[in-house]
C-alpha cells in the first residue's frame, strides 16, 4: 500500500504577512512542506471554513500562500496577522510536469500567478512569461522575478491593453517555438489558451479549480467530467483536457448540482 504523506492535520502560526497591493496578501509560515509546484493545501481558519490554496513561495523551511480577497473566507484570510493560527492539510494534487530542457511559455491570469510563481522559479531564464490581470492592482508579484515578463491588463493600466492570449499568439506568430505552455487563471482564459495551443499543436498544462471538500479524492465534490480535480489534478495536460467535456462549461455546486460555469462562479460570490 502506498504511504500517504499528506494525511496529518497541522496547526501553524503566521510567521510574516506581506501585503501585495490592495487585492492580495501573502502569509508566510515556517514549516518544511514537501511540495511540487502546482500542488495545493487545504487551509483551515478555525471557526470560519476550509479552502484550497496553492503555494506561492517555497523554500526548505518556509512556504507561503497568497490570497485574493473575494468572499467571506478570503476576506478573513487577508486580515490574519503574524501569530495567528491556521490549520493545513496537504500538499494534495499532482503538480506541474517540469522538463528543465524544454522551451516553454507561462501564462498567468490574475491570482493564477500564485501557483505559477514557484514553477517559474524552476524554469530557465529564456522562458516566455506572460502575465495579465483586470488592472494594475491585480498584477500579483510585479517585481518578484529576474525573468522578463510580458504584461497586459484589461484596461491597459499596466503593460499592454488586452488579453494574455493575444500576447501568446504574437509570440507564436513571431516564430518562437514552445515545447509546452503552462497556464493558470480564470477558467475562460485557460480555455482560450488551451484552444490556441491546440491550434498550434503545443502541449498545454492547465490548473483547474472546483469546490473541494476532502482534497484527497474521496468525497467527489470536485469532479469535473470523469476527472477528480483534487487528485488527478489540479493540473491537467492537453490529452486529459480534450476528454473533459465540462472544461469551461460545467461545475458542481456544494449540493452536487451540476450547473453552468457562470452560475458556479456567481454562487461562489455569495
Amino acid at each position: 500500500m502506498t504511504t500517504i504523506t499528506d494525511q496529518k492535520h497541522i496547526m501553524l502560526r503566521v510567521e510574516k504577512k506581506q501585503v501585495d497591493g490592495p487585492a492580495f496578501a501573502t502569509l508566510f509560515f515556517n514549516y518544511a512542506l514537501p511540495f511540487k509546484p502546482g500542488q495545493f493545501i487545504m487551509v483551515w481558519i478555525p471557526g470560519i471554513d476550509e479552502k484550497p490554496y496553492t503555494i506561492s513561495y517555497h523554500s526548505k523551511n518556509e512556504f507561503a500562500i497568497t490570497i485574493e480577497a473575494k468572499g467571506i473566507f478570503s476576506q478573513k484570510a487577508i486580515t490574519l496577522e503574524k501569530g495567528d493560527l491556521i490549520g493545513i492539510r496537504g500538499p494534495f494534487g499532482n503538480g506541474f510536469d517540469i522538463k528543465p530542457e524544454d522551451a516553454v511559455a507561462v501564462v498567468a491570469g490574475g491570482c493564477g500567478m500564485a501557483p505559477l510563481a514557484t514553477l517559474v522559479e524552476q524554469l530557465p531564464e529564456n522562458t516566455c512569461f506572460i502575465h495579465g490581470a483586470r488592472s494594475r492592482e491585480f498584477i500579483l508579484f510585479p517585481d518578484r522575478f529576474d525573468m522578463d515578463r510580458l504584461f497586459c491588463t484589461d484596461d491597459g493600466s499596466f503593460g499592454r491593453k488586452g488579453f494574455v492570449t493575444e500576447l501568446l499568439e504574437n509570440e507564436i506568430a513571431s516564430g518562437r517555438h514552445f515545447d509546452r505552455v503552462y497556464t493558470c487563471g480564470p477558467e475562460i482564459m485557460m480555455y482560450h489558451v488551451f484552444n490556441l495551443c491546440e491550434k498550434h499543436h503545443i502541449p498545454c498544462q492547465v490548473s483547474l479549480e472546483r469546490y473541494m471538500r476532502c482534497g484527497f479524492g474521496v468525497c467527489g465534490a470536485c469532479v469535473c467530467g470523469k476527472q477528480v480535480v483534487c487528485k488527478d489534478g489540479p493540473v491537467f495536460d492537453s490529452s486529459a483536457l480534450r476528454g473533459i467535456k465540462d472544461f469551461n462549461t460545467k461545475a458542481l455546486l456544494k449540493s452536487g448540482k451540476e450547473v453552468d460555469l457562470a452560475q458556479y462562479f456567481s454562487w461562489r460570490c455569495k
Binding site: 500517504i4 492535520h9 474521496v218
Partner: protein, 303 residues
C-alpha cells in the same frame, strides 16, 4: 469471476460505497470501467441541501472522519444526471435518504422510475441533524420505512444499516421481514470528534463526524457476522476494506459483495480491480470458489 446478485450479472463482487465519488454519471462510469462490479450513487435526498461547511473530511492516518452532511441537489433537480444515467451500460445502485417515511417513499418512487438496477435506502447516516439515523437503530422504525418504500418501487431494495444499532441483527431481521432484498452494512462508525488543541475547536465544522477506513474494519466485520446470523438475504459488506485479504475476511463473515469507500484514498480508483484480483488470486491459491467462503467463519470447526 462473474457474480449473480438479485438477478443481475456483475463482473466482480466489488461495490463502490455511496458518498464516495458517486456524484456524476461520468465518474460512476469511470469507477465501473476501472474495475468495479457495482457502483453506488451518492445518497439523494428529498430537497436541495448544501451539506455542512468545511472542514468536512479529515484523514486520521488509520482511517478518516467525515461530516459532509448529506449534500444533495434534491431528487427533482437532477434531470441531466438521470438522463445520462438512463443511457448507462453498467449496474447501478441509487442511494436515497429522507427525514420521514413519507420522504423516503416519495424519493424512492421517483428514483425507481429512473430505472437504477437497485435502490439502497440509507437509514444510517449519522451526520445530519434531521435525517436518517433514527430509522436504523429501532427495528420497528426500520420495518416501517422498508415496507413503505418496498411498495412503491420496481427494483430490488437494499437497506444500508448503521453500526450504532444496539443489535444490528434485529434491525436486519426487521428489514428482511419488511421485504428488503439485501442488506448493506456498515455506514460510518461513531460518531467521533477531533478537537484541535491549539484553537480549542472541533476540527470538523459540524463538530462530529462518522469514522471510516481501516480502523473500523473490526466493527464492520462483527456487524456483517451478526447480520448473516440473523437473515437469509444477501449482504453487501463494507467498512475499512482496502485489500483482498480484508475482502476475504468480510466474505467469511457473511458478505456476498464487498464495498469500499475510503480505500480510494489509500489505493486509488483502481482499488476495485486490484482487490478483485487479490481475491481471485487468494481463492485460486486456496482452491476455493467465492461461494465456498461466504459465511465460512460461522462454521464451528472451520479450520
Amino acid at each position: 469471476m462473474t457474480i449473480q446478485f438479485l438477478g443481475k450479472t456483475l463482473k466482480n463482487p466489488m461495490v463502490l460505497a455511496s458518498g464516495v465519488l458517486g456524484n456524476s454519471n461520468d465518474i460512476l462510469k469511470r469507477v465501473h470501467e476501472s474495475g468495479c462490479g457495482l457502483v453506488t450513487m451518492k445518497s439523494i435526498g428529498p430537497e436541495p441541501r448544501d451539506g455542512h461547511k468545511n472542514p468536512t473530511v479529515i484523514d486520521l492516518g488509520h482511517g478518516m472522519i467525515n461530516a459532509v452532511g448529506l449534500p444533495s441537489p434534491g431528487y427533482l433537480n437532477m434531470e441531466n444526471e438521470w438522463e445520462d444515467l438512463e443511457k448507462r451500460e453498467f449496474p447501478l445502485i441509487a442511494s436515497i435518504y429522507g427525514g420521514s417515511v413519507k420522504e423516503y417513499r416519495m424519493v424512492a418512487e421517483f428514483v425507481s422510475s429512473k430505472k437504477p438496477d437497485f435502490i439502497e435506502i440509507n437509514i444510517s447516516c449519522p451526520n445530519s441533524e434531521k435525517h436518517g439515523m433514527i430509522f436504523g437503530i429501532n427495528p420497528q422504525s426500520s420495518h416501517d420505512v422498508v415496507s413503505a418504500v418496498k411498495k412503491v418501487i420496481n427494483v430490488p431494495l437494499i437497506v444500508k444499516l448503521t453500526p450504532q444499532a444496539p443489535d444490528i441483527g434485529d434491525i436486519a431481521r426487521a428489514c428482511e421481514d419488511a421485504g428488503a432484498d439485501a442488506i448493506c452494512a456498515i455506514n460510518t462508525v461513531g460518531p467521533g470528534m477531533v478537537i484541535d488543541i491549539e484553537s480549542k475547536m472541533p476540527v470538523l465544522a459540524f463538530k462530529k463526524g462518522g469514522l471510516s477506513g481501516p480502523m473500523i474494519k473490526p466493527v464492520a466485520v462483527r456487524c456483517v457476522f451478526d447480520i448473516y446470523k440473523a437473515v437469509k438475504i444477501p449482504i453487501i459488506g463494507l467498512g475499512g476494506i482496502t485489500t483482498g485479504e480484508d475482502a476475504i475476511e468480510m466474505i467469511m463473515a457473511g458478505a456476498s459483495l464487498v464495498g469500499m469507500g475510503s480505500a480510494v484514498r489509500y489505493r486509488g480508483i483502481d482499488v476495485f480491480q486490484t482487490v478483485a484480483d487479490e481475491i481471485d488470486t487468494w481463492l485460486s491459491d486456496h482452491h476455493y470458489t467465492l461461494e465456498d467462503i461466504i459465511g465460512a467463519a460461522h462454521k464451528e470447526d472451520a479450520s
